[in-house]
Symmetry: C2
Amino acid sequence: MSEIESDAPPPRRPTMKDVAREAGVSTSAVSFALNNRPGVSDATRRRVIRVADRLGWRPSSAARALSGENAGAIGLVLARPADSLGGESFFLQLVSGIQASLAPRDQPLVFQMVEDVQAECELYRRWWAEGRVDGVIVVDPRVSDPRPETLAVLGLPAVVIGGMEAPGNPDAPQLPRRARLSNIWADDSGAMDLIVRHLYALGHRRIGHIAGTPGFAHTARRIASLRAAGRRLGLEQAVSVTTDFTDRQGAKAARRLFSAPAPPTALICDNEVMAVAAVSVAAERGLHIPRDVSVVSWEDSVICHTLHPQLTALVRKADEFGHRAAGELLALLDGGAPRQLQDPLPRLQPRESTGAPPA
Amino acid sequence: MSEIESDAPPPRRPTMKDVAREAGVSTSAVSFALNNRPGVSDATRRRVIRVADRLGWRPSSAARALSGENAGAIGLVLARPADSLGGESFFLQLVSGIQASLAPRDQPLVFQMVEDVQAECELYRRWWAEGRVDGVIVVDPRVSDPRPETLAVLGLPAVVIGGMEAPGNPDAPQLPRRARLSNIWADDSGAMDLIVRHLYALGHRRIGHIAGTPGFAHTARRIASLRAAGRRLGLEQAVSVTTDFTDRQGAKAARRLFSAPAPPTALICDNEVMAVAAVSVAAERGLHIPRDVSVVSWEDSVICHTLHPQLTALVRKADEFGHRAAGELLALLDGGAPRQLQDPLPRLQPRESTGAPPA
DNA sequence: GATCGCCACTAAACCGTGTTAGTAGGCGTC
DNA sequence: GACGCCTACTAACACGGTTTAGTGGCGATC
């Protein structure tokens, strides 16, 4: 191990100047050669590339950002209290999918967690001013969300996922035409229909819904969809209770629903953590699943099929979602036009936690 | 909404030149004023700061990185297949804790997922050459891990968490003295003792261990600790089975252990996902928990206390862990000396899944 | 009253790229 | 053989900061 003991000073990173000196050309020639631009002969280009390779040269992202105006990184901000995403697998899967798009382009993901949406807007402004990211992915859209407009004003390209209203919806916020915002829209209404139809077919007429955080756009959409479906099908009951996505509030909501004079015979839970909490509350009350009450989780994850009874769940692949969103952002950065896309309708995976209601 | 319809071009980010012009001084004076350096009068300093504030000036991170040599960001790489961290809450908590340290300094976290440790080393080299990060946090140390040496050679400051051997251990790799590596060492042996003593006191003499990925250093330490404890206490059985941390392999390992001629009366599972899987396999075999078999989860998370029976778990706060690691890295970046720290011993939270073994 | 020193500030160089303008040299053309 | 054109390259500048080396003005000192 003597070469380790020798304790060499850390190497200096090679620059274009080093490559130029070694190859016997100017730095401009090096720049042309390495960026596949005309202006150098093929022989020189090959020689330069070989030298750069040998020295282990990489473009300084800082220098690139300074001259080229693009940071070579994209941003993701999470504005949820850390404990509210305790057991949720959604975000890790999402990030994993985002990486899948970014990896081939060697674009890192800059990630930060903040307190609330105001702080998030502030962070976007800072990132923009600092030139840290070329674009961002916006998650958890809110009912009246300041972020799209903030991003539009800054001219920072972004993809809003799971969010905003359907194209043509009059409620959709008016944004500057120059705004470079794409939108991957999740069909919460269609998904809710899938679930409700499943439960209706089993015979359920009283459905409870343990929803997510009140201000979230998809929470509002799901609540509205359930009520609409309830009216359409003539359900006796279609009631939603909002929470903060934690097991604690999920359990509290379940207790409240179970304590009603005519409790629901089926529960729809907006994430798997609250679904497990609901199952737990049912057990605590001596209710058998699915004989006494059915439970559906709006999100599939390991525990949904590891647990007994296995949970009927809405399967939407968070990683593919992230993959697509990041791809869309890259397209936007490459000069593509903003688009309004719809995420494919998730699949409902029936398992052991749903069955016919008690007679 | 006419001011939105007016469709203004996106603003240009203000630079020091703008501040200088507005304040009627040179850019050098602005630099001095904003960095609290001598060279300007108090009156000028105040004026410059006020102007910069009014214009919303922020230093370009790229320009800073180019002249100041530091990127103003730290890196985190995860070298695990995405599906292996499906339900684990550890990483999200860890990242959340890291953010807590970084937020006051406005340092973003650069995050990337890769295939394996080789790719991770390659990424470190690239990040170093690109000047993207000032330091990194290394997780999941392996038995013979190439990363510390890679980082040492590059001179990239790093904090290795959960890792390496205890100070003074002869197996610890020899690194260049100039290496700027701190180390937060987890006392897996002490933690294993906590669990084994708990089970021993309940009367268990045959203990099975569903361990993590074979190459991981903490997996090796836990296996060795269990065997040592077994010898010390004169256990009949103390057997470990390695997995890849997924529910699938956890279940497979549980089946294998249960199928032995003299199956263990207690299982220690290296994460909560596998603990749930083990519980599920037990149920599938008609084994009651904890009457027929006890289960301990080496990691606490929402499901551990939402599930029934609630799982006895080792509680180590991943967010505090991350907080501390990031703090240590920042200290290192500020010129502090590398340190060897020990993480506080986790607490064992007895719940419903452990009890006396069958007679 | 000339000299010195200090203060507050400016000019200029630098970091590592990308880009644009400019130039030397070879070749074909009339 | 003078001219123009094309190729292959170099010089110079820009990006937005930091830092070093000046510089002019003013008060104190002998």
